[in-house]
């Protein structure tokens, strides 16, 4: 009798847990935070981009004026180009480094958690501190140039040279700082590859290289897609490295979209225009994510 009642109770619990209302309750705290700190500000920014919002809070509705101005603004296209170029350098570099370290970690037999911790360390350091120290490392009398001088090579203008040089130097810092996160995701992906498939490939005589290219990479594709998307978004949002290390310079070589947004909003107090840059940045990233999804999905089928 008692046993039966307990069984009935358990079933009802399970039923109740399956009820969508209960699920909603469990995610409610996160959902509330998400709505307050993500949705509302995002929609607010869209609204703000249609106004000439000023410091005092006074504003009037200006319709699409800000967007018209943006698409006539050479500076916007310049910063869009800078951002695209930066992403083109940063995203592949981040992926290669993260995939390389993840594969190494996956094959390390002993002390895996120690190495994982060490490789993840840059991710949890302060970006501003890292930026300042990397600035010293890059300086004309800094660590790298000091070593190069010993080899008789002239000082390399890492942060003061041409645009490709400056953006690549910044990308290296960003990748150093953030590859740990992508690496962890890829390690998890590698662990999910069934051991028997690898085993079967080995029996069929596949070497390490062909196993990597023909087994690991195809099976890892969904994870790689995810990493690509988050790295692309991160590259488009790059700000802290630029802010700390170059201030958008030299001669606007590293003046990306978010830096332009910051300038318009917090240097020139033109919040409406800054919000417009933000909205367009969102649309650009959204479009690129769709394209990435389309390309990677098509290859899968």
């Amino acid at each position: 009798m008692t046993v039966q009642r307990a069984a009935v109770q358990r079933a009802s619990w399970r039923q109740r847990a399956r009820d969508p209302g209960w699920g909603l309750l469990f995610v409610l705290p996160m959902l509330v935070l998400f709505v307050i700190f993500r949705f509302v500000p995002s929609l607010g920014a869209v609204g703000m981009s249609l106004t000439d919002y000023r410091l005092s809070g006074d504003f009037s509705f200006v319709g699409a004026d800000n967007y018209v101005r943006l698409f006539e603004d050479d500076l916007f296209f310049h910063s869009l180009r800078v951002t695209l170029l930066y992403a083109a350098i940063c995203v592949p570099l981040a992926l290669v480094v993260a995939l390389g370290t993840a594969t190494l970690l996956h094959h390390v037999v002993r002390g895996q958690s120690v190495f994982r911790g060490l490789l993840f360390l840059p991710y949890v350091t302060s970006f501003v501190m890292a930026g300042i120290i990397w600035t010293w490392i890059y300086e004309s009398d800094g660590l790298i140039n000091g070593l190069l001088e010993k080899l008789g090579v002239g000082p390399v203008p890492f942060l003061t040279g041409n645009q490709a040089m400056v953006l690549a130097s910044l990308a290296v810092v960003s990748v150093w700082k953030s590859f740990g996160y992508s690496m962890l995701i890829l390690v998890a992906g590698l662990k999910n590859i069934p051991e028997d498939i690898v085993e079967a490939a080995k029996l069929d005589g596949a070497g390490p290289c062909s196993r990597f290219w023909r087994i690991t990479i195809p099976l890892l594709r969904p994870v790689i897609f995810f990493v690509l998307v988050i790295e692309t978004i991160a590259a488009f949002q790059v700000f802290d490295t630029i802010y700390v290390m170059t201030g958008g310079g030299p001669a606007r070589a590293s003046y990306g979209l978010v830096y332009m947004l910051y300038d318009q909003g917090f240097k020139f107090f033109d919040f409406g225009y800054a919000a417009t840059v933000g909205v367009v940045l969102f649309l650009v990233v959204f479009l690129i994510s769709l394209v990435q999804r389309y390309v990677l999905d098509r290859e899968k089928t």
């Binding site: 410091l55 003061t160 201030g247 030299p250 001669a251």
Partner: protein, 415 residues
């Protein structure tokens, strides 16, 4: 005087204790928050000084609760802008004249002429003018900065130069001799974070030019004077007269070319920076001189003003605080502690130090900066083009022409 104040304070406190604190703020009482910055570079001295100001003020005005918050220079505009936009911030904030106009034109400030009503004549007319817009005063000057030239006599003598360079021609002539010893003749900081008021503009003014036309409706830096000023820098760079990273370096004296003896002179240096330089290369090797001359002799020096934010709810009390901090007693003490100079005529400049006398004399050549609604955007545009010219990616003509055309677009859009 002191005893009297204490008596008043005690009496008021007693009254307050008896009658409760409600309804006592009718005569301008209330709470006032001031955002102050490290005008006094030494942190301990700064905390001590402003604590004292707070205590002294509250002793005399027991109905006003004054809070002076000390903030760092870094991220200053972001913090002020977000504070005003969110309605949670200071009643009074320390600003420069160009910031004052920027905040005024974006609706962030309230006029505060009443704060100087009784003693308007005591302030330097230029200092008040620089923060007067639409015939309203938007800041009370509490000090004035001054910059002038500083020289490292040791490296000059080592290059066989016995007389310090006082004109552009002198600097150009000295540069190759100094460069032979690996020393830059003149420090220059082209970082985008660096204000042109302390880098390019003094040279432009020395060339006889201005950034804007008189009525501020157009830029003027692309005229022959602007060419001369930028050409001077480029010429100097060609003969090794500027630090190697002049196009991008930040303005640090400590650890920078002036502080490490790799630059022979600076032309827009403040008194605290001279102290840093003395610490770096030895006080006996450092002398200050008159402002540098091109066609004209000009330096940069501007008032620091306390401005009333649009979110202040206790205007009356805030203006009392501003008037107090600008008063001769506080101003004198501030100048002593900060190495700044008086923004009013009834305050004696700091004495007893030869260096400070030179700085005070330099004030007569001081240009407080050109203040127009688009001044900061124009500065940012010009700054990146000067970088391009110093890096050699644009010619002097192209850099100035590009900057001018972009600046004119900005002005046409209304800043």
């Amino acid at each position: 005087m002191r005893g009297q104040l204490t008596f008043v304070a005690v009496a008021a406190l007693t009254l307050a204790a008896c009658g409760g604190s409600d309804g006592e703020s009718t005569d301008g009482g209330g709470s006032v928050t001031v955002w102050m910055y490290p005008v006094i570079p030494d942190q301990d001295a700064s905390i001590e000084f402003w604590d004292q100001v707070e205590t002294d003020f509250e002793t005399g005005h027991d109905d006003i609760d004054l809070t002076i918050e000390l903030l760092p220079w870094e991220g200053r505009d972001e913090k002020i802008a977000t504070a005003i936009a969110s309605g949670e911030g200071p009643d009074l904030v320390l600003l420069t004249p160009d910031q004052t106009l920027q905040y005024q034109s974006t609706g962030g400030l309230k006029p505060m002429g009443a704060a100087v009503e009784e003693n308007r004549d005591a302030f330097l007319p230029n200092a008040l003018d620089s923060v007067t817009f639409d015939d309203e005063l938007y800041g009370v000057p509490i000090y004035h900065t001054s910059t002038t030239t500083v020289y490292n006599t040791e490296v000059l003598e080592a290059a066989g130069i016995s007389e310090v360079p006082t004109t552009w021609d002198d600097v150009l002539a000295a540069a190759p001799k100094l460069a032979a010893n690996g020393v830059a003749a003149m420090d220059y900081s082209g970082s985008p974070e660096m204000t042109l008021n302390l880098s390019f503009y003094p040279l432009l003014w020395q060339a006889g030019g201005t950034v804007f036309t008189d009525d501020g409706s157009d830029v003027a830096f692309d005229g022959p004077e602007g060419h001369a000023a930028l050409q001077f820098l480029v010429d100097l760079q060609e003969v090794g007269g500027l630090p190697a990273d002049a196009a991008t370096k930040p303005n640090n004296v400590e650890g920078g070319p002036l502080g490490t003896g790799t630059a022979a002179m600076g032309y827009a240096v403040t008194a605290p920076e001279v102290e840093q330089m003395k610490a770096g290369v030895g006080a006996e090797n450092v002398v200050v001189g008159e402002p540098l001359s091109g066609v004209e002799q000009v330096s940069f020096g501007m008032p620091g003003v306390l401005s009333l934010t649009s979110i202040s709810e206790d205007e009356q009390a805030a203006m009392e605080v501003a008037a107090y901090i600008a008063s001769p007693e506080v101003a004198t003490a501030l100048n002593d502690a900060a190495g700044t100079f008086p923004a009013r005529t009834d305050v004696e400049p700091p004495t007893g130090d030869e260096m400070l006398t030179v700085f005070n004399d330099a004030l007569q050549y001081a240009n407080p900066g050109e203040v127009t609604p688009s001044a900061r955007q124009v500065m940012s545009v010009l700054s990146s083009n000067i970088q391009a010219a110093l890096q050699g990616s644009k010619s002097v003509e192209d850099a100035l022409a590009d900057a001018a055309s972009e600046a004119r677009d900005l002005i046409a859009r209304g800043g």
